[in-house]
């Protein structure tokens, strides 16, 4: 017998003996690669990945490097199917065929919008038919709509959302108004792109209700961009009822960069979706196409089982427990900051998940987006605080209003000290009569 044909088993990471849930010090250890000098209260942008998952990822990477042909023939497809199956259960999809894995929500948007563009090009949609999106849709998604929809002859309508916002009703009524505008002149609304949680400013949108309205008003397709969804808010495909739904797993579900899922409800139209990077598997369904887009590192897509194990075995209540604790703490911290600065929250707690918008003192003089970029860099470089800032233009007649908001987040690695650090930084600036005009260009 030739031993050379046998694959030497790789070391499996030792499962810790769990007599109780993960402790604070174990959590700090899992995230010890985070820069200790930084109050990291921007989990929303890039997420985080615990050391055990990074290790699991490295094992997959090594498997490929050892014998890539063997890996490709015998391991890759199985591994991705396993990940897709876990995601399908997590999000309550009907069938694993509905779940494709892609790099990120940006890629998912390109997939959905490309399909819309084809429909315009092929005459299925008329020139001037409408795509509706939120004014606060993510910058990349807006560009994607411009590249694929406007360029093919579609018209884009933005839903103006109030901010600060006080209730779901405010959002619902603006959305209805936008749909009316879309249907004016006998045109059809072909696509609605709805954020589950907007990025900036950050608000949880009542997607279930909006999808319902779309169905009532004859909107062809609904695409929910839930970049921040999974691990942050409730993600239930059956309940939400959208045609397409995407969420990043590297933001709030502890995956390494980067991985997202794109859910496509089984229907006649779903066969029109293709991954824009076309490879051998073209025509075999989006999930199969996405699982092979040429040679690359698929390890981030393969660690999903390890992530679920980590989350469910080590944290009380699993992902649900984490979500709840994140929400409760971020609201508590937000209220603490708003009180300290004598400002307010950007939305009521029930319209937040693991992030919340907190008004910054008006005296800081935030008068433009450029000011927020500079101030953010200032906090990063001089105070060791990483937090994204948002500029809200004052309405007509408003004087001395809050024009800047911080989007704070809470994830398992955060400590109260992170928020105290931020509170004190702002208070110090206020005390020193700092304004944004002092920041160099």
């Amino acid at each position: 017998m030739r031993t050379t044909s046998m694959v030497t088993p790789l070391p499996i990471p030792k499962k810790p003996k769990i007599s109780s849930f993960i402790t604070q010090s174990e959590i700090q250890s899992e995230f010890s690669h985070h820069d200790p000098a930084v109050a990291r209260i921007n989990n929303g942008s890039f997420g985080c990945c615990p050391a055990s998952i990074i290790e699991a990822q490295q094992i997959w990477q090594l498997k490929f490097l050892r014998q890539p042909d063997h890996f490709y023939v015998n391991e890759l497809k199985k591994g991705i199917l396993r990940s897709r199956t876990i995601i399908k259960d997590l999000v309550h999809a009907e069938h694993v065929d509905e779940i494709s894995i892609v790099d990120n929500a940006t890629t998912a948007a390109a997939i959905v919008l490309q399909q819309t563009a084809w429909a315009f090009k092929e005459g299925k949609f008329e020139k001037g038919d409408v795509a509706v999106m939120l004014h606060y849709a993510y910058g990349s998604v807006k560009k994607s709509i411009e590249a694929y929809v406007s360029r093919s002859g579609g018209k884009v309508i933005e839903v103006q959302l109030p901010f600060p916002v006080n209730s779901n009703d405010e959002i619902i009524s603006e959305f209805r108004r936008a749909l009316e505008r879309g249907k004016a002149d006998g045109k059809r609304v072909r696509l609605a792109v709805i954020d589950h949680i907007t990025s900036m400013p950050c608000v949880v949108i009542p997607v279930k209700e909006l999808v319902q309205i779309c169905r009532e008003e004859g909107v062809d397709q609904v695409f929910v961009d839930a970049a921040h969804g999974i691990g942050c808010t409730d993600v239930n495909m059956k309940e939400i009822g959208a045609d397409f739904y995407t969420s990043n797993l590297h933001k709030w579900l502890f995956c390494p960069p980067s991985i997202a899922f794109l859910y496509c409800r089984k229907s006649a139209k779903s066969s029109d979706l293709h991954h824009p990077v076309v490879s051998h598997e073209y025509g075999n369904g989006l999930a199969v196409e996405s699982a092979w887009i040429g040679t690359r590192d698929y390890s981030a897509q393969l660690v999903v089982p390890s992530v679920l194990e980590f989350v469910n075995n080590r944290f009380e209540g699993g992902i649900e427990g984490i979500k709840k604790r994140n929400h409760d703490t971020v609201v508590e911290m937000g209220e603490m900051l708003a009180k300290a600065w004598e400002t307010h929250l950007g939305s009521p707690p029930y319209m937040c998940a693991s992030m919340i918008m907190v008004g910054l003192p008006a005296c800081l003089g935030i008068n433009s987006e450029s000011d927020t970029m500079k101030l953010r860099a200032h906090f990063r470089e001089n105070f060791g605080v990483e937090v994204p800032l948002y500029y809200r233009a004052p309405k007509d007649g408003e004087v001395g209003s809050v024009t800047g908001y911080a989007r704070i987040s809470h994830q398992v690695y955060n400590k109260v000290n992170d928020y105290d650090k931020f509170r004190d930084a702002v208070s110090q600036l206020v005390g020193n009569r700092f304004t944004c005009t002092l920041l160099s260009k």
Partner: protein
């Protein structure tokens, strides 16, 4: 191979680089043990002679990559604001110098050649859809163009009215003229019904069968014949042949860095030299940077791991530890693969698929006719068999017999199967001896491809043989239980499955039974 001189031979025109970057004065070059160490993560015991498919990445570059990954994880916002763009620009600059491009703005980094093909073909598709190209305009390519590229044409060009002309690549091939002739014929067909040839897709080195294509000459012809745009798919090129984009003169040129240029999976560069065209070329994954030029768009396609794109400077450091740098590596790979190819062809009594000057670091070697490679299925079986039972990784190619029986022959018949062997710095002569001996062993055992099981069917064969053994063994129950346990294990552990499979081939059933009866 240990004895081979480290002096590169600058005999091959593929390797003469007019702009060799000045190499540091090294006290000594990388040693054999150091090379072993750099590739110690490769599975031992496997003769890895398929560098072409997935490439290879040395330990030092993997370490450099981990450092970049860690920097991102430590403080991702700071990384994306302050480090990422600079790092990618540095990588693009290294590439620009390597390929003799004029302007770093002409160089974008993407995941792989497959992504680059989507970019180019989406651009062409848009021209058709927006009426700039007409319905009887064509795209011309070789019949053996990479499958993903063909599918990309199917996705982006044919639905909007473009048609495709396929040029038959002669194989085995004897000279560049044979290819040029076929290509000219293809161009004529493209212009036959009054249409224009809007895009020519030329492989710099075809994948299967693998041959170096005379791209400079073909592009000259394209320009003479008013082909609008030329896209060179050089997936295998960089690190394998000289890539001088000015000399080649294509509008688009792509090459993977992870195949022959030691990058981790995965990164490729896409060169777009034609200023008239490149303003409307976009990355299909649209992000904030849409409209800011392809290099900038490609440098941000959403949050992801950009570390393979950032290690390019570290790769250059690595290759410069070899005498002659990347040029030296290319020359030595070429010399060795030709030498090994000739050794195999001689041992098997077969042929090479092309003359040495039409190869780079890979060469096609004919398989003995007696193996009966009569279909693609046979080729797959043989490849699996070599991987699973002999620890050899080598792609196998099926070449249908030519009409009129004019193809290459050995003493037993027509040669219809080829292996594509590769040579990279980690290979040794033993890798090729192993292949030589495995094929000779198959011939001695009178095995032909159709007798070799596909991996999934191994269970059935194992079951069949185990049962046969059981029947013969019932008189000898003391031997039945060990056999039964092997049989049961064959369904539970991969290694035991392979053992039972091996048993089938290396100990014929009647031998087992005669041993059993003797006892």
């Amino acid at each position: 191979m240990e004895e081979d001189p480290r002096n590169g031979k600058a005999t091959h025109h593929h390797y003469h680089h007019p702009h060799t970057p000045k190499k540091p004065r090294l006290i000594q070059f990388i040693s054999e043990p150091e090379i072993r160490q750099e590739f110690s993560h490769h599975q031992s015991g496997v003769a890895r002679i398929n560098n072409g498919s997935f490439g290879s990445c040395p330990g030092s570059v993997l370490d450099a990559q981990k450092k970049w990954q860690l920097r991102f994880l430590q403080q991702p916002d700071d990384f994306c604001f302050n480090t990422l763009k600079k790092g990618i620009l540095e990588s693009r600059t290294v590439i620009k110098n390597l390929i003799n491009a004029d302007n770093v703005d002409d160089v974008s980094l993407v995941d792989n050649a497959t992504t680059a093909a989507a970019i180019v073909l989406q651009h062409i598709g848009r021209q058709f859809a927006e009426g700039k190209f007409q319905k009887n305009d064509t795209v011309i390519m070789f019949h053996c163009a990479y499958q993903a590229v063909k599918k990309s044409i199917q996705a982006y060009v044919t639905p909007v009215g473009g048609s495709v002309i396929q040029v038959q690549l002669p194989f085995p091939v004897n000279s560049n003229e044979e290819i040029i002739r076929e290509f000219r014929k293809g161009l004529e067909r493209g212009k036959a019904n009054g249409g224009r040839v809007r895009l020519a897709i030329l492989d710099h080195i075809t994948s299967m069968p693998s041959v170096v294509i005379p791209v400079c000459e073909l592009i000259k012809i394209c320009r003479e014949e008013c082909v609008d745009q030329v896209f060179v798919d050089g997936a295998h090129a960089i690190g394998s042949v000289l890539v001088d984009v000015k000399e080649i003169g294509a509008d688009f040129y792509v090459s993977n860095l992870y195949k022959w240029f030691f990058s981790p999976p995965s990164v490729a560069f896409l060169y777009c030299g034609n200023s008239g065209i490149k303003c409307d070329v976009h990355h299909p994954v649209v992000s904030h940077e849409y409209g800011n030029g392809l290099p900038t768009e490609s440098a941000w396609v959403g949050a992801r791991d950009y570390s393979p794109q950032l290690v390019v400077p570290s790769i250059l450091e690595f290759v410069n530890r070899f005498e002659g740098g990347i040029q030296g590596i290319m020359e030595r790979n070429h010399d060795q693969v030709v030498k090994m190819g000739k050794m195999l062809a001689e041992s098997w009594g077969t042929n090479l698929g092309s003359p040495p000057e039409m190869c780079a670091s890979m060469i096609m070697v004919g398989l003995p006719a007696r193996l009966c490679v009569t279909s693609e299925d046979d080729a797959i079986r043989l490849r699996s068999h070599l991987r699973v039972y002999h620890g050899i990784e080598v792609p196998v190619y099926y070449q249908a017999m030519k009409k009129g029986d004019s193809g290459p022959k050995d003493k037993d018949g027509c040669i219809t199967g080829y292996v594509r062997i590769s040579h990279q710095v980690y290979n040794t002569a033993e890798d090729y001896f192993k292949l030589r001996d495995a094929i000779n062993q198959l011939l001695e055992d009178h095995n032909v491809c159709k007798m070799l099981p596909l991996e999934q069917k191994r269970y059935v064969y194992s079951l069949f043989y185990a049962f046969s053994c059981e029947i013969f063994c019932t008189k000898h129950q003391h031997l039945f239980h060990p056999f039964l346990s092997f049989f049961v294990l064959s369904f539970t552990t991969e290694s035991s499955r392979k053992f039972v499979g091996s048993l089938r081939f290396h100990i014929k059933t009647r031998v087992i039974c005669s041993l059993v009866t003797k006892k």
